[in-house]
Amino acid sequence: MDFSFLDQLWLARIPLLKGLGVSVSISLLSIVVGTVLGVFVGLALVYGLRPVKWIVRGYTDFIRGTPVLVLVLASYYVLSTIGIDLGPFQAGVLALAVFCSSHVGELVRGALQSIPKGQTEAAKAIGLTFAQTFAYVLGPQALRQALPAWVNTAAEMVKASTLLSIIGVSELLLRTQEVISRTFMSLEFYFFAGFLYFVINYGIERFGRYVERKTAVPS
């Protein structure tokens, strides 16, 4: 028995690919759901009535002050005690989406508040309604403003997806550990997994830069 790393890698390709697929699904789902939720969180923080603001502010502060791992564990173990039985994948995605939403909420709030008041006033002065002002004046500026930080958040979600291995979701890290327990090639396979995460996040970052360039306002 003298298999090289490449032989082992070839043998382990199916579970590793499945793990990669699960990792990508977790990340995508939590980013998409978290972003949609986060936009509402941000809007509530800026335009909500006072009681709404307080509640949402409490939500984001609480979530952002909690370690992601704790959110993942709570989502899996605590929710079941109150009768909400989620599988590990669903529970994990829920935890990450909630985490993502609080961060995106803050991004959206910051981006909207960074736009000078004069923009809203100028829009009002030509007779735009609030919805129109938001759609054509504030929204497009806030999107550009929030994009770089949002890309960072997306990359963070990919990294945070590894935490789901703790509750038994067969994502890339857990699959890698299983392969290592069979082959004892810990250094090689951890490096390989690390390389895959790097490729995903580097891709996200390049894509973000590309969109930034495409949407940049000439000056």
Binding site: G118, Q119, E121, A122, I126, T129, F130, Y136, Q141
Partner: protein, 255 residues
Amino acid sequence: MTNLLEIRDLHKRYGTVEVLKGVDCSMRQGEVISIIGSSGSGKTTMLRCINMLEEFQGGTIAIDGQEIGYETAGGARRRKPEREIARQRALTGMAFQQFNLFPHMTAAANVMLGLVKVKKMSRDEAMVLAEKWLDRVGLLSRKDHYPGQLSGGQQQRVAIARAIAMNPKLMLFDEVTSALDPELVNEVLQVIKGLAEDGMSMLIVTHEMRFAYEVSSRVIFMNQGRIGEEGDPREMFLKPKTERLAEFLKTSTFN
């Protein structure tokens, strides 16, 4: 005939600080009125009440007989619905000290936005008007430039084109040259002068005394939330009746 603008006993408070303490003002179609006065006298606030960028607590403002912002029913004064206020804001056009162009849109798109979204014009119709007004302010060649690519004076001229293209009944100018380098002031004042010659009704809050003197049919001097003195620019500047105005004119440059 009803006056174009009719302000009656206008009161405005920020918290407990009263900044407008009962302002009355009527304006006829085609008049050009400059509002002068030291900072904090309430001149900008008064202008901003006219298009409801500021709420006001007492008095009425009417444009062409139409009450702005509030309605009184059964003795109770109520803010009009937002949609109605948005529509009323389009009766006036406003140019700001800080230009406030939309930075993510070209000069032409800035002018077109209100035409398409508020006046519901087609993009082609809006483009024709945008080009006409950009040409009028001497910036047709810059129509595809973004605000960040224009000088302050050019930005302000686009902002004026954006407001005037909406065909307002009344133009409001809020210290439009205060943020400009001295050598850029003139190009903006020339544009405003041109509009005055066209017969555009305008309310101009300004620190440019020479300009106010030359362009206005009437001057209003604001003092501590009230109208301190008003009248013909020649009499106002050369023979001020009140001591406050005389003092104010002494400290302001008239060149």
